[in-house]
Amino acid sequence: MRKETIFELTSPCRDNFRIMGYHFGNGEKTLAIVGPMRGDEVQQQYICSQLVNRLHIIEQRNGINKGNSILIIPSCNPFSMNVSRRFWAMDSTDINRMFPGYDQGETTQRIAAAIFSALNGYKYGIQLASYYVPGDFVPHVRMLKTGYEDVETAKLFGMRYVTTYQPRPFDTTLLNFNWQLWNTKAFSIYAGHTDQIDFDDCEETIDAILRMMQRTHIISQRPLRTAYESMVIDETTLLHVKARHAGIFRRLATTNKSVVAGETLANIIDPYNGTILCDVKTTVNGVVFFSHNRPLVLQNALLFKIYTI
C-alpha cells in the first residue's frame, strides 16, 4: 500500500484541505474507487475505509494479481464532512457536478480537475454515490446510458440489481458521465443509505466490489458471501408511488420488501389531529426498490419506486 496526497489546498482559517489516495498493486491502471464527494455520505466513507483495510491485507498475502494497479480515494471532501455540510461549505457547490473539472477555474472545479486527473486512464471506475432525492435503496449498481455503459461487467458485482438511466443535461457534469466518455468502464454503487451507516448493507457492498475485482481477475481472493443473479432494470420501468397529501410519513414497507397490488406501503398522518390522511398503496406486485426515509413528506413527493415484472 502506498499513500499519496492527490490534492492539497490552503484554507483561510482551517487546516489544509487534502485528498488522499491509496495505491495497491503494480502495473496497468486497472481499477479506481472513489468515495464521498458530499459531506453526508458516511456510509460511503465507511465502505471505502474497509476497502482500504481489506486490500491492504489482500496485498500483504499476494492476493493482487500481477500487472494490476488499484487506487482508492476514500474521501474527496473531508472539509464538508467535518462540518456536517453536504456540499462545499464555502459556496454550496457540488464537487460531483463539476467534472471533468478545470484546473484554472473555481475552487470546486479545481478539486474536480485534480480528482479527474488522478482517476483518468483506469480501465474500471467505481464511485460510491448518493442520490439527489433523500431515501433508501436496495444496494445496486447504477449506470448512465451514454453508449459506453458496460452492463455485462456491472453484473459481475453480483448485486441484486443493475440499473441504467438516460442522462439529463444536469448529469453531464457528473464524474461517471465524464469517466465513461474518457473510456473508463464506470459504475456508481448505491450502498443503500447515505447519512447513516448500515453495517449489513456495507458488508454486502464491500463483498460486491471485491467480487467484481475477483471476477475481472484483479484480485485472487473470493468474497465471503454468495452473489445474486443481477436483474437489469431500465429505471423508466420502475413504478413511482407519490404522496397524495403532505404530512407525517409512517413507513410500513422498507426497501427490498415484496409487495402485492393494493398493499399499503405507508400512512400519511395529519400533523395536527393524528388521523390518517391517506394510505400509500402500490398498484402492482413487485419489490420496493426505493423508499423515502424522512419523517415528513410534501404533497406529490416521490415516496417509493417499485420494481415489477
Binding site: T107, A246, P271
Partner: protein, 308 residues
Amino acid sequence: MIKTIVSTELPIDEQFRIRKNVIQHGRKNGLRFCVVTGTHGDELEGQMVCYDLAHVVTEHIDALDGTLKIYPALNPLGIDTIQRGIPNFDLDMNRIFPGDPNGTMAEQTAHAIVEDIKGADMVIDIHSSNLYLRETPQVRINVQDAERLIPFAEQLGLDFVWVHDAATVLEATLAHSLNVTGTPCLVVEMGVGQRINHKMCRRLVAGILHLMQTMGMWHLAEDTELPTPIICKGDHVTFLNAETSGVFITELKCGINVKKGQVIGQIVDPLRGLILSTVTTPVDGYLFTIRAYPIVYEGSLMARIYRK
C-alpha cells in the same frame, strides 16, 4: 389580478404557492410580456424590480396595451430561508428546467412554470449574481440565440451584453428551456446576492418599459437616450481566479475600465499580517464582475474583464 400557478401542500398547515400578477389592458389578444425572478432565493434585486414595475404599470394602466405578467418568486421557500436553492432539494432550481411532471416536487414545479410562461412574446429572467460576486447590470445570452435576442437586449439600456458559450448543463436553465420552444427569454444579471441596489433596479425597470414601448405595448416611457451596451461576443472575457486562499481586500467596484497591470485587490493573511497575493489585471478592459465576499479559496473567482 393575482393568480396561482402552483399550489402544493407542505407537511404542517401550509400551502406552497407560486403566484403571478397579471396586469392586462388594451388588446386582450395583444402581446404577452413576462418578468420572472426569485429562482435563486439569495438574489433579491428582482423583488424591487417587480414591485416598481407593478406599481408604475398599475398607476399608468392606460399606457399598457397587452398583458404584463409578473412572477416575483419562483422559489418562495428559498427566498424565505435565505438560501439559493430549494430547501431539502439538492439541485439548483435553474438546472432542472423544463422540469418533469412525474419527477420530484421541484421538477413538477419547474414543469408547471415553463408551461405557464411559454408562448409569451418576451420573458425577462432577472438574477442578481450571488453572495460572492458583484455584477454590473448586464444581459446574458446563449450564443445559439444571439442573433434573435441581441436586438431586444439592446433596448434594455444596460451596460453590457455577454454572449456566452452553449454548455450542455445550461440546457437545463429556464431561459434555455423557453428559448428552445421559441419563447424569447433574456437573462439579466446585476448587483450582488442578498442585497438590493436601488439605482440598478430603477434602471432595469426603465429598460423593461422601454423594451415594452419598442414592442408597441407601452406608451408612456420617457423619451430619453439609453446607453448603448457593450456587446461581448466570442472569447473576449478574462477570468481572474484567486492564486491563494485568504481574505480579499479591494477598493474597486465593477463597471469601470481597467488598465493592464492595475491592482484589483489583495489577498491577505489576517493571522500573520501578510499580503499573500496581489490581484492585478493582465489585460486592458472593462471590469464587469468583481468579488464581493471577502473570504476566498484558491480558485475563487475574483473578477471578470471584457477585453475590448
